[in-house]
């Protein structure tokens, strides 16, 4: 006998068991609806029981009514629970058919494709370091006057240093003067000293040019020069600034440095600076070890240079230094060949370049 057959009267407990069992057995919403109708529909078995209440004596009706209502409630709850269950199962079934291949590759997107050239990145790093030391950044043109590039810097026409620079020249102008491609960033120092009054604290990064080409020389490369002019800055300050710079750029606590006397026409006294390094396998460890690597030239600004920009060398003094940016990049990031910097080979640029959002900051660390 099925629960779907209405049998008024009979054993209520048996009826309940029978209905709950049928609810549990309903495999889909259709089957469940049939059970609902058989139980609670117009002619459903519980509905019929409810109707039969009207024919009962009040005493009997009260007790039976309570029993039947309880039964109705439990069956309703079971129906609703079963419906939720069947709904969920149906959704799960549908979702199971909506699978996609999660292993398919996405496009990396421009933020992962784009690159900043190592020279630009290192320039940003250098700017960051010197900004913190209170320097501002100055600039000037690549095509310079012979005067700004040489004469003002205490390199007169016949000075042997002019030959050493392998200068690129432009044709003579009508007035006999000649433009050159700047051989160093020092002309920017001259421009700055002529335009602004001390105290000065500047760096000037940019492109410079010398006729030279091999693994570590290219006819175009990048330099940053620094200049401090006031009334009391001395060599001790120069050493401190360079030590701070080397520590910051190479991100080490201690950098072994060696200051050697040297000669530049535009500084007096002049020095070249080596940093200690050691090779561990193919990796160059900067700052320690017994080998020396020349990284920059510096000195106290030559009195003749100060005079050339109308500063009295008995009142004003200061220092200047120059560093090869490409060279710093090569050392810091392990790039062997300078010529590759300017070959624009995508493979090289992608490998050694930096992501657009990797902006060097002191707060976030210069390099990641």
């Amino acid at each position: 006998m099925s629960v779907l057959d209405a049998t008024p009267g009979g054993d209520l407990q048996a009826l309940e068991n029978e209905l709950l069992e049928a609810i549990g057995a309903a495999g889909d919403l259709n089957a469940l609806e049939k059970v609902r109708i058989a139980a609670l529909g117009k002619k459903g078995r519980i509905s019929l029981l409810m109707k039969s209440l009207g024919t009962m004596a009040p005493e009997e009706r009260k007790a039976f009514g309570q029993t039947v209502n309880g039964l109705k409630q439990r069956v309703s709850d079971a129906l609703s629970a079963r419906k939720d269950h069947l709904d969920a199962a149906e959704l799960a079934g549908r979702l199971a058919t909506e699978q996609v291949d999660i292993s398919l590759a996405v496009r990396p997107g421009p933020l992962r494709e784009g690159r900043i050239h190592p020279v630009s990145q290192v320039m940003d790093e250098i700017n960051e370091i010197f900004a913190d030391l209170g320097f501002s950044v100055a600039e000037g043109p690549d095509i310079e006057s012979d005067y700004n590039n040489f004469t003002a810097l205490n390199i007169p026409l016949e000075h042997p240093a002019r030959q050493e620079h392998d200068t690129f020249y432009f044709n003579e102008k009508a007035d006999g003067s000649r433009r050159v491609l700047r051989t160093h960033m020092s002309p920017v120092q001259i421009r700055t000293m002529l335009q602004e009054k001390p105290p000065l604290r500047i760096i000037a990064p940019g492109r410079v040019y010398r006729g030279d080409s091999d693994q570590t020389h290219t006819p175009m490369f990048h330099q940053v020069e620094g200049l401090v002019i006031d009334t009391e800055t001395h060599m001790g300050h120069l050493k401190w600034v360079l030590e701070e710079f080397c520590k910051a750029i190479f991100e080490v606590d201690i950098v072994k440095m060696r200051f050697r006397a040297s000669h530049f026409p535009f500084t007096e006294p002049s020095m070249e600076v080596d940093i200690g390094y050691t090779m561990v396998g193919n990796e160059m460890r900067i700052g320690e070890g017994d080998d020396w690597l020349e990284i920059l030239g510096c000195g106290m600004v030559h009195p003749n240079v100060l005079r050339n920009v109308n500063l009295d060398p008995e009142i004003y003094q200061g220092f200047a230094f120059g560093v090869g940016i490409d060279r710093i990049a090569m050392l810091k990031y392990g790039m062997p060949d300078l010529r590759a910097f300017f070959a624009a080979d995508l493979r090289w640029l992608k490998h050694y370049g930096f992501l657009p959002l990797d902006v060097p900051t002191l707060a976030g660390g210069l390099s990641r």
Partner: protein, 810 residues
């Protein structure tokens, strides 16, 4: 500058080790470049003597020699033309490593004859390039058979090479280096062994200076000393062996005693000299300026023509040589020379440098004179040379004959020893400072802190107090200077970059974040290419470029980027997005040089990523890909792209129909973008589609200083209403006209107009297109009624049809 350790020790009495000397040299500014001990690689070579030499049975040019060595007589097959009985040479036994040929000698059979070892040439021992024959030692070395070659020849003498900066001509002589080391506390400068020559007679050759008043400084002084009756073939004496050993060690080939003496003194004192075979001179010897067309045969075997600005040495017959640069062949000293005239002169450094450059001769004399030698060393040079010649070659010396007078030493510096503290930050005792300067040969006049310092003739680089400070701190060691922190100026931190630098930085990052890879290309391009991009002017041509490919300053960054893209294409990477930010040139004046930001996209290198992908294949690059880049740069620099005019007048390296210029008003050109002209691509040999843009960062107006606070936020309460319209237009009508007309229809209500569809098809009729726009109305006070919306719609249609001649699509 090269010298040997023993040579240095002649001038410097010191107990310190080689390493200490090397470290000190480097620190005081005489940077050690290389130290080589030739003995190190020659330990295994010994003295041997050929006792018989027979013709090889099977080879014309070979001889079979019996050689007496330290370990008995050995049979050695030898191909040297000078292998002969009695030759004392250098023997390498089997198993010896031969440095010059980089191989280890094994047991050998040469054309059937066994050879046990080898007699070596100088090249095989890396002593020189000499390979004409085997080493032929003086006879007396034959008494030391079996001993080490390096011991017999006293080769155990490290050769030191240092870099000399142009300001230190004094260190182009060993004695100058010794003086520096002594002043740096490494020992004592030895007493100078040179004594005035005791001239027995007057110099028989007259010496004259023939200059005008204006040119007299070309050669203000010329000294001569005559030695009569020399024997220039005496090559076996102890003195000569020392000199030639040292000259060889530093890479100079001994020639004959008279010439070698001048070379030796040049390196010992930085004092160039010249020797003439006096019997070949005719009449008086004199210095004068050359005459155009005069020629002479120089000691290097080449003929040179002089001009009227070069200082020559001549006799009555004509020009003999270039004073201070190179001597002449016709009066050179040979083995036959019996009477010699020694020249010791002073030449103007600038004229020497000019002459040397013009004529293309690098000589030890030029190198020293152009850096400036000690004008007071004329007599010293003559005396020293006479002393050595008399000792080695015999003869009798004349008195010194001097024409003119060397420039006086006038440099006296008023020096306050506190200046050292001012510039270095370190306080030295006044006595310490003066002591150092004295050791360097400076004369000190006065007591206490304020003194007068007289500069010696060998230090032309020193002329003012800062130079003296350098001497003091250099010799004390810059390591003595403690690092002193610099204080930061007080005040609020300001931007340290200029507006221009900030633009460079922002442009780089915005372009990289649009998938571009940053390249740095040469600032110079081939002239033909510069010309195609509007450059190639004479003013931007290098006189002395590295190559013709690098001769013109670039007028545009696009040329370099396109060439770079093609190189990548050739390597198999056809889809390139490359950008550069850097200087470009309209002219050579500072205001004609500008900072440009340019990018090139080739193949399908669009923003979303190039090439085929399962989610959809990327189209080839086009005008709009680079228009987006150009506007992104402007936006990043704070320029509202909506305010920029896009005009159809891009330069002719772009496709005339698919390119544009970006402007602000008629005067300001911000940049260009577009697809490249097919002819440009052809000229640069570029394959495939390519589009690009270039912005002049300096042309973008500087933002007006704005308040940091933003204007109040205005959020309408009412929802916006959107209506679509489609118009049929002539194809030539720019879309922007439709948008502008629609925007103007009701400025209060219309918040935005965008184009959402463009259709061109035959169904519209020839030369027509359909453009669909979405107009957004933003009500402010009250919800719009249908009538109000219809009124705006009518106004939009009227405005567009009026402005464009189009009609609403039904």
């Amino acid at each position: 500058m090269k010298f040997t350790l023993s040579w240095l020790r002649d001038h410097l009495a010191t107990e310190v080790s080689l390493d200490e000397i090397l470290d000190k040299l480097t620190v005081i500014g005489l940077e050690v470049e290389e130290v080589v001990n030739p003995a190190a690689r020659l330990q295994d070579f010994t003295i041997a003597k050929v006792i018989s030499a027979k013709q090889h049975p099977d080879a014309d040019k070979l001889r079979v020699c019996e050689v007496e060595t330290g370990s008995g007589v050995k049979q050695v097959v030898c191909g040297a033309p000078n292998a002969r009985v009695g030759l004392v040479g250098v023997f390498a036994a089997e198993g010896t490593y031969i440095p010059g040929t980089d191989f280890t000698l094994g047991k050998a059979k040469i054309r059937g004859v066994e050879s046990h070892g080898m007699l070596c040439s100088e090249r095989e021992l890396e002593l020189s390039d000499e390979h004409e024959g085997i080493i032929d030692l003086p006879e007396e070395a034959g008494e030391r058979i079996g001993e080490r070659y390096v011991d017999v020849m006293e080769f155990d003498d490290p050769v030191i090479e240092i870099a000399i900066t142009p300001n230190r001509p004094d260190c182009l002589g060993v004695r100058g280096i010794a003086r520096d080391l002594a002043a740096a506390g490494l020992g004592k400068l030895t007493a100078d062994p040179v004594k005035p020559a005791k001239g027995k007679f007057d110099c028989p050759i007259p010496i004259a200076l023939k200059f005008t008043k204006e040119t007299t400084d070309a050669c203000p002084a010329f000294g001569g000393l005559y030695v009569r009756g020399v024997d220039n073939t005496r090559v076996n004496g102890e003195d000569y062996r020392l000199i030639t050993r040292r000259l060889r060690a530093i890479g100079l080939r001994p020639i004959n005693p008279l010439v070698d003496v001048t070379n030796y003194i040049s390196y010992d004192r930085g004092r160039p000299l010249h020797v003439y075979d006096a019997d070949k001179l005719k009449g008086a010897i004199h210095a004068r300026l050359g005459k155009k067309g005069e020629k002479f045969l120089a000691l290097d075997g080449d003929a040179y023509e002089v001009d009227g600005e070069m200082c020559v040495i001549a006799d009555d017959r004509g020009t003999l040589g270039l004073g201070g640069v190179i001597g002449g062949e016709s009066t050179g000293c040979t083995a036959d020379t019996r009477n010699v005239l020694i020249e010791s002169a002073y030449f103007d450094p600038i004229r020497i440098a000019m002459t040397g450059r013009r004529i293309g001769i690098q000589s030890d004399a030029r190198y020293r004179f152009e850096r400036g030698i000690d004008p007071q060393s004329i007599e010293l040079g003559l005396n020293f040379a006479a002393q050595l010649i008399l000792r080695m070659c015999g003869g009798t010396a004349s008195k010194i004959e001097m024409a003119g007078a060397p420039p006086e030493l006038k440099t006296v510096i008023k020096f306050d020893t506190d200046e050292v503290k001012r510039l270095t930050g370190v306080k030295f005792k006044s006595s310490e400072i003066k002591g150092t300067l004295k050791k360097l040969g400076f004369g000190i006049d006065g007591k206490g802190e304020k003194v007068k310092v007289k500069v010696p003739g060998w230090r032309p680089d020193v002329s003012q107090p800062a130079d003296l400070v350098e001497e003091v701190i250099r010799l004390a060691g810059v390591d003595k200077v403690p690092a002193v922190p610099m204080t930061r100026d007080s005040g609020v931190a300001r931007a340290v970059l200029t507006e221009g630098q900030k633009r460079v930085r922002r442009s780089r990052r915005i372009l990289a974040s649009r998938g571009f890879v940053e390249a740095i290309t040469w600032s110079f391009v081939p002239r033909a290419i510069a010309t195609r991009f509007g450059g190639g002017q004479d003013a931007l041509e290098l006189t002395n470029p590295m190559s013709t490919e690098m001769s013109s300053m670039r007028p545009s960054l696009l040329a370099g980027l396109l060439m770079a893209a093609q190189r990548n294409h050739d390597r198999g990477f056809a889809d390139c997005a490359l950008f550069e930010v850097g200087q470009a040139y309209r002219g050579a004046e500072p205001d004609e040089q500008f900072i440009a930001a340019a990018g090139v996209r080739t193949g399908s290198a669009r923003l979303e990523g190039p090439g085929r992908h399962w989610s959809g294949t990327t189209d080839d690059v086009d005008l709009f890909a680079v228009k987006a880049d150009a506007l992104a740069v402007l936006a990043a620099l704070g320029q509202d792209p909506a305010k920029v005019q896009v005009t159809r007048d891009a330069p002719d390296w772009f496709h005339p129909g698919q390119s544009a210029t970006l402007r602000l008003g008629p005067k300001i050109v911000l940049g260009h973008f577009g697809v490249f002209h097919p002819q440009i691509l052809k000229a640069l040999d570029i394959s495939g589609p390519a589009a690009g843009f270039e912005m002049d960062l300096d042309a973008v107006p500087r933002p007006r200083r704005k308040a940091r606070a933003r204007p109040a936020l205005d959020i309408p309460d009412l929802q916006p209403v959107r209506r679509d319209f489609a118009f049929i237009l002539e194809q030539a009508v720019p879309a922007i006209d439709v948008v502008r007309a629609a925007q103007g229809a009701d400025k209060a209500l219309i918040a935005d107009v965008t184009i959402f569809d463009l259709f061109e098809g035959e169904s519209l009729g020839p030369g027509k297109k359909s453009l669909a726009i979405e107009v957004t109305l933003q009500p402010r006070d009250h919800t719009l009624t249908d009538e109000q919306i219809d009124r705006v719609a009518t106004a939009v249609i009227a405005a567009v049809t009026k402005a464009t001649g189009g009609e609403i699509r039904g």
